[in-house]
Amino acid sequence: MDLEFLCEELGLDRDQFSQFASLFLDVASTDLARMREAVDLEDVVGVAQAAHSIKGAALTLELEWISSLAKSVETKAKSGAIEELRTEMNTLALELEKLKARLQEQFPIKQEGFRQVEP
C-alpha cells in the first residue's frame, strides 16, 4: 500500500491527498460505528447503507481493497447474512486502522484539524 503512488495516481498534491484521505478515514470511522450498531440491531438496511457509503468514498480515492471489503459487507447484509459479515466488518476495521497508520507515517503533516466538512 503505497500512498505516495496513490497520491500521484489521483493527480493530487500531498496536502490535498492528506486532507482527502484523512476526511475519508473520519467519515469511514463514523460509518463503521453506524455499521456495528446496525449489526447489533440486526438492521440489514442500516448495515448495507453504511457499507455502501464507505465503498463509494473508497472508490473515489481508488482505495480498491477497502472498497471491495465494503462491497462484500454490503452484499452479505442485503442477503441477510448478518453473522457471516462480522468477519469482513472486522477486517474492514483493521484495514482502515492500517490505512490511518500508513497515512500518519507517509503524510505526517496537517492531518489533524479535519473532522467534518461543515457546509
Binding site: G11, K78, V117
Partner: protein, 794 residues
C-alpha cells in the same frame, strides 16, 4: 466567477468539489442534504448546481424537480453527480437535469467537473449527456439496492395513507402522492415546508406538542382528535425515528368519510326524541345525543371521551352504569348493582338488557326505563355498547290513572247491580207501608210506626242513590248552578254543626261563571270533602278553607296532566291544616270502601262519591298532601264552565205539596214484578184512576188491543223495560204500530235508566224511576196525561 452549489451527503465529495471549484476561481456553496440545499436556494441564485441522487431527507430527484419548477432558477444549470447515474439515464431527462457526471475516481471526476465549470460541454442534449459512464462498471449491489428502493417506492406511491417524513425542525423532506392528495398541496410544494404551516394555529400547536412528546418518548403517538385540513379530517400517527429522535414519519389517514358517517349518525340520533348514548370498548362516551342532554342537563362536551359519569343518575355514587356492565357482560355485577329481578332480557332483542327505576334528575323524581346493548360489527367484533334512557314518568302516571279508573268502573258496575236488587225489595216494603198508611187513621198509634218504616225506606233509597252516584249510570238532569251558592250553603251548615274550634273560611271569587250540574250533588261533593278535612283536623281544632276561582286549563297543563282537557273551569279548593295524608293512602284515597277510620266510623264511600259526582259532571278532582301551605291536605275540583250563560237557577221545593188526583182515566201497568204491579195499582186507584195490570209484554199488548176494540182505550201505559216473554222495547214498537196515539210512560230502576233514552223509547211520554214513590208516581202520571192531551198526535 460562477456561484456553484454542490449537494451531496458524502463529505469527501463535498470537500473534493469545494477544492476543485475554488481552485478554478469560483464560489462554492455546500449542502449536505436536499433540505439544506433548499435553504441555500432561498438566499442565493446559483449559476450551477451539482447534486447527488441518493441522499437522505429530500433526495436528488426531488430536488431536481423543485429546482426546475422554480421560475427564479430557470437560468441555473443542473448537473447530476451520481454513482448510479449510469443506470438512471432514461429517467434523467424527465428530471430536468442538463447534464450528468458519473461518480468515479478523482482524476476522471476532476476532468468532467472542470469541463462543466468551463462550459466545455454540450448542454442541451436529449437525453442529457452522461459523462464518465464508460468508466463505471454497473455494479450488482447497486442494482439490488435500486430494486429494493423501487419496491418500497412503489408501495409508498400507491398506498392510500399519506406519508410525510419530517426532520428535526418539523420540515417535510418526503411526501408520497397520497399525502399530497390528502393535503391538497402538490408534492413539490410540500417539500421543505413546515408541516405546521398547513394547519390552523391551534392545530399546529397541538401537533407541535405531539411531535415533541413523540420525540421525547420515542414511541408512536396519535393526537386525541383528528386534524382538520381544508375541510378534511385526518387521523395522524406520529412515528419518531433515528437514534436521537432526528426525524419523524407522519402517517395520514383521511377519515373524512368515516367522520361524515359518524356525524350523520350523531345528527340522526340528535333528531330522535329518545335519549341515547354510546361508549367504546374502553368505556369512554363516544356519543351523547340531544335528547340525552335535555334529560340529564349534561352537555356532550362534558362527557365525550370520558367514562360515563354515574353521578348523573346516582348522585354521589361512583358505580358502573348498565351499559358498562353489558359491555363487559358482567351479569354477576348486574345482579349486585341492580338487585335481582329489576333488570331483564329484552323480550324482542335478547342481546339487550332493560330495566325501570326511580331516579332524581336535576332534583326532580323521574321514572326511567333504560335499555343497554352491545354493539358489534358484521364480523361480531365488539365496538362498544349503547344505552337508551326513556323518561316514562308520565306514562306510568297515566297507567296508574287508567288502573284506578278501571277499578272504579268495576266497583261501580257491581254496586249498580246490587242497587237494582235492593230497589225492588225496598219498593215492596215502602209500597206496602204506604198502603197500610192509607187504611190507618192518623190517630192510630201504628200510623207513627208506619211513618218510621217509610222514612227508613227513604233513607235506604238515598243510600242506594249514593252508591249509584259513582256508578255514573244514574244521570239526572243538570241545570246551571252557581258554585259559590253551593259552597256558601255548605259553609253555613258546617259552621252550625261542627265544633267552634274548627274555623270554616270561605274565599270565594265573585262573579264566577255557571257550571252545569245538580245542586244537591255538588252540595254533597263540597260536604264530603269538608267532612274528610274535618276528620283530619286534630282535637284542638283547625281551619278549613273553601276557595273558589275561575281558571283556564292550558294545553301545556293538560299535556302533563293526561286526565285533563283544555278549557275554562270553575275551581274549588278545600284545604285544611290537619294531619295530612300518607303517600300510600293518597294513592288509594278515592277507592270505594277504602277508609283509614275505625270500623263503623266511616263507610269509605265519602270521597268515592265526591269523585264520581265530579266525574259525572265532566270534572276533575285532585288530592294533594301536604297542601301548598306545607301542612294538611288540599283537594281541588275542576268543573267545566257552562258554555251558554243563561241563568236558570235550580228551583228547589217550589212545587205545591198537594198531590194531583185522576179523573177516572184508564191506565195499564205492565211489569214482571207482581208486587210492584200490586202497589202501583193500589196507589193509582186510591187517586181516582182505573187500573189494569199485565205480567209481560204480550199479555199487556192483548189487553191493550181488547180495550181499544171495545172503545174504552187506555190513556196511559206504564211500562217496565226489562221483562221476560216480550220486553219493553218490543211492546213499545208493537203498541205504537197498533195505536200511533198510544201514550207510554217508561218505568225503570235507576241502573237501567240511561237505556230508556233514545232508540226504541223515543216515542215515550216520560220516564218514571222505580221504586214507585207515591208523590213522584202521581205527578209523573198527571204530567204524562196532560202532555198527551196538549199534543193529541204524539
Amino acid at each position: 466567477m460562477k456561484t456553484v452549489l454542490v449537494v451531496d451527503n458524502q463529505p469527501l465529495i463535498l470537500r473534493f468539489m469545494k477544492e476543485l471549484i475554488e481552485r478554478r476561481g469560483h464560489r462554492a456553496l455546500l449542502a449536505g442534504s436536499g433540505l439544506e440545499a433548499l435553504e441555500v436556494l432561498q438566499e442565493v441564485k446559483p449559476d450551477l448546481v451539482f447534486l447527488d441522487l441518493v441522499m437522505p431527507n429530500i433526495d436528488g430527484q426531488k430536488l431536481c424537480r423543485i429546482l426546475r419548477s422554480d421560475h427564479r432558477l430557470r437560468e441555473t444549470r443542473v448537473v447530476i453527480l451520481s454513482a448510479i447515474a449510469s443506470e438512471e439515464v432514461p429517467s434523467l431527462d424527465s428530471l430536468g437535469a442538463d447534464l450528468c457526471i458519473a461518480k468515479g475516481p478523482i482524476p476522471e471526476m476532476t476532468l468532467h467537473v472542470e469541463a462543466v465549470l468551463e462550459d466545455r460541454v454540450p448542454w442541451d442534449t436529449h437525453p442529457p449527456l452522461v459523462m464518465g459512464a464508460d468508466t463505471i462498471q454497473p455494479r450488482e449491489i447497486t442494482r439490488e439496492l435500486l430494486a429494493t428502493r423501487r419496491h418500497l417506492e412503489l408501495i409508498l406511491e400507491h398506498m392510500s395513507e399519506g406519508i410525510l417524513e419530517l426532520n428535526t425542525q418539523g420540515r417535510i423532506v418526503f411526501a408520497n402522492p397520497s399525502a399530497a392528495q390528502i393535503l391538497g398541496v402538490p408534492e413539490l410544494n410540500l417539500l421543505g415546508k413546515r408541516v405546521t404551516e398547513l394547519l390552523s394555529v391551534q392545530q399546529a400547536e397541538n401537533l407541535q406538542s405531539l411531535l415533541e412528546e413523540a420525540f421525547c418518548k420515542k414511541e408512536p403517538l396519535r393526537p386525541r382528535a383528528p386534524l382538520e385540513v381544508r375541510a378534511r379530517r385526518l387521523e395522524v400517527e406520529c412515528l419518531p425515528f433515528g437514534a436521537n429522535g432526528s426525524g419523524a414519519i407522519l402517517i395520514l389517514s383521511d377519515v373524512t368519510p368515516v367522520h361524515r358517517t359518524a356525524e350523520l349518525l350523531q345528527h340522526t340520533l340528535d333528531k330522535a326524541p329518545l335519549p341515547a348514548f354510546m361508549i367504546d370498548t374502553q368505556h369512554r362516551v363516544t356519543l351523547w345525543n340531544r335528547a340525552m342532554e335535555m334529560l340529564t342537563g349534561v352537555s356532550r362536551d362534558q362527557v365525550l371521551g370520558k367514562p360515563a359519569d354515574s353521578s348523573i343518575f346516582y348522585p354521589g355514587n361512583k358505580r358502573p352504569l348498565l351499559v358498562d356492565l353489558v359491555l363487559d357482560m358482567d351479569m354477576e355485577a348486574v345482579a349486585r348493582f341492580y338487585g335481582s329481578g329489576t333488570i331483564s332480557v329484552h323480550p324482542v332483542f335478547p342481546e339487550a338488557w332493560e330495566g325501570t327505576g326511580n331516579f332524581l334528575l336535576e332534583g326532580k323524581p323521574r321514572t326511567l326505563h333504560f335499555m343497554a346493548a352491545r354493539i358489534t360489527d358484521a364480523e361480531g367484533k365488539l365496538l362498544g355498547a349503547m344505552e337508551t334512557v326513556e323518561d316514562v314518568t308520565d306514562r306510568e302516571e297515566l297507567q296508574r290513572h287508567l288502573q284506578h279508573a278501571q277499578k272504579m268502573q268495576a266497583v261501580g258496575t257491581l254496586a249498580a247491580g246490587m242497587a237494582h236488587e235492593f230497589n225492588n225489595i225496598l219498593a215492596a216494603i215502602q209500597g206496602y207501608a204506604q198502603l197500610v198508611g192509607f187504611n190507618t187513621p192518623p190517630e192510630d198509634p201504628n200510623a207513627e210506626y208506619l211513618k218510621e218504616i217509610e222514612a227508613s225506606c227513604q233513607r235506604a233509597a238515598g243510600l242506594i242513590r249514593k252508591m249509584l252516584a259513582f256508578s255514573r249510570m244514574d244521570q239526572s238532569e243538570k241545570l246551571p248552578v252557581k258554585l259559590n251558592q253551593v259552597v256558601e250553603g255548605v259553609g253555613q251548615m258546617l259552621r252550625q254543626t261542627l265544633s267552634p274550634k274548627i274555623r270554616i273560611n270561605l274565599e270565594l271569587e265573585p262573579g264566577l261563571p255557571f257550571v252545569s250540574g245538580e245542586y244537591a250533588r255538588l252540595e254533597q261533593v263540597v260536604l264530603n270533602l269538608c267532612l274528610n278535612s274535618k276528620d283530619a283536623l286534630l282535637e284542638e281544632g283547625g281551619e278549613i278553607i273553601l276557595r273558589t276561582s275561575h281558571c283556564f286549563l292550558e294545553e301545556s297543563f293538560c299535556r302533563s296532566h293526561p286526565w285533563a282537557k283544555p278549557g275554562s273551569y270553575v275551581k274549588l279548593e278545600v284545604q285544611d291544616n290537619g294531619t295530612g295524608i300518607d303517600p300510600e293512602v293518597l294513592d288509594r284515597i278515592f277507592e270505594p270502601f277504602f277508609t283509614t277510620k275505625e270500623p263503623g266510623k266511616g263507610t269509605g264511600l265519602g270521597l268515592t262519591i265526591a269523585y264520581s259526582i265530579v266525574k259525572s259532571h265532566s270534572g276533575y278532582i285532585l288530592a294533594e298532601s301536604p297542601s301548598p301551605s306545607g301542612r294538611g291536605s288540599r283537594f281541588t275540583v275542576f268543573l267545566p264552565v257552562l258554555p251558554e250563560q243563561e241563568e236558570k237557577p235550580h228551583e228547589r221545593g217550589a212545587e205545591s205539596r198537594e198531590l194531583p188526583r185522576g179523573k177516572g182515566e184508564r191506565i195499564l201497568l205492565v211489569d214482571d214484578e207482581p208486587q210492584l204491579l200490586e202497589i202501583g195499582k193500589k196507589m193509582l186507584v186510591s187517586y181516582n184512576y182505573r187500573v189494569d195490570t199485565a205480567l209481560d209484554g204480550s199479555e199487556g199488548l192483548a189487553i191493550y188491543a181488547r180495550a181499544l176494540q171495545q172503545g174504552d182505550p187506555y190513556l196511559l201505559v206504564i211500562l217496565d223495560v226489562a221483562m221476560p216473554v216480550m220486553d219493553g222495547k218490543e211492546f213499545m214498537s208493537r203498541v205504537l204500530e197498533m195505536d200511533p196515539g198510544a201514550r207510554v210512560l217508561v218505568s225503570t230502576g235507576a241502573a237501567l235508566k240511561q237505556e230508556t233514552t233514545g232508540g226504541a223509547f223515543q216515542g215515550a211520554v216520560g220516564v218514571l224511576e222505580k221504586p214507585f214513590e207515591l208523590e213522584l208516581l202521581l205527578r209523573s202520571v198527571r204530567q204524562a196525561l196532560e202532555v198527551g192531551l196538549e199534543h193529541p198526535g204524539l
